[in-house]
Symmetry: C2
Subunit: 140 residues, 2 copies
């Protein structure tokens, strides 16, 4: 399930701080791609899709925002406002980012390169896939 | 040599901007590790080392700073202040980050996991290794 992970931060009183993300065991995947959302109008939301295979780690580098998470049967909202916390979003979670404060930067570390075929962009398709997955699980 | 790379940024007037770094061909290496410097006192510098094998891409996510680059025979300073530009630092370049504005965040994408044996932390050792490398090159 989705999990907020305290990132490894090395503090030095004289030289500032260094936050490092290498992959396992700190986060549950290897990093292949990096992107960041910026200059987002405050009233807009981003995301609103799910991934079939991709793992992502969301980090609020500046400002703050909310992430609405939906596994097809339950929903929750996580508020991100610290660059030392990463929110792990595993595959098959419908996620939306919203309530961006001005100058917010959302850094995303992803487990694979971009692949449009890995996306569910339609919520009903996502729900249908979840139902099929649960049905298979319950028959094993 | 060190090179400032314009990163791939997808602008949407209504939804803000998305800057993506995937690896080749956009940057000359695959990403394995991510770290960022933050809360750096303005009068302090960071870096002051070289790497034997590691490639790095430095991105100024917020604020601004300078990077002093030294290949053992010539020096230059690059000013970074835009999150859509990445400075590629290949192996065997002595680099120092300095003149940090308040609230500066320096994102670094690295080609490999942390390995203390990959560092030159002593400038004279770095220069000696450069001299040996040049001597070998000139005899081939």
């Amino acid at each position: 399930d989705c999990q907020a992970i305290d990132l490894s931060t090395i503090s030095s009183k004289d030289l500032g701080k260094l936050t490092v993300i290498e992959g396992p065991p700190n986060i549950p995947f290897h990093i292949k791609r990096v992107f960041y959302l910026h200059d987002i109008p405050p009233e807009k939301s981003r995301g609103s899709h799910a991934h079939k295979e991709l793992h992502q780690l969301l980090i609020c580098i500046n400002g703050s925002f909310d992430v609405a998470l939906d596994d097809g049967s339950s929903k929750k909202i996580v508020h991100l406002n610290a660059l030392t916390v990463g929110l792990h979003i595993p595959p098959m979670i419908w996620a939306e980012e919203l309530n961006f404060k001005p100058n917010t930067i959302c850094l995303v570390l992803a487990s694979d390169f971009y692949d449009e075929l890995d996306y569910y962009r339609n919520y009903d398709d996502f729900l249908a896939a979840k139902l099929i997955a649960r049905s298979i699980d319950s028959h094993i």
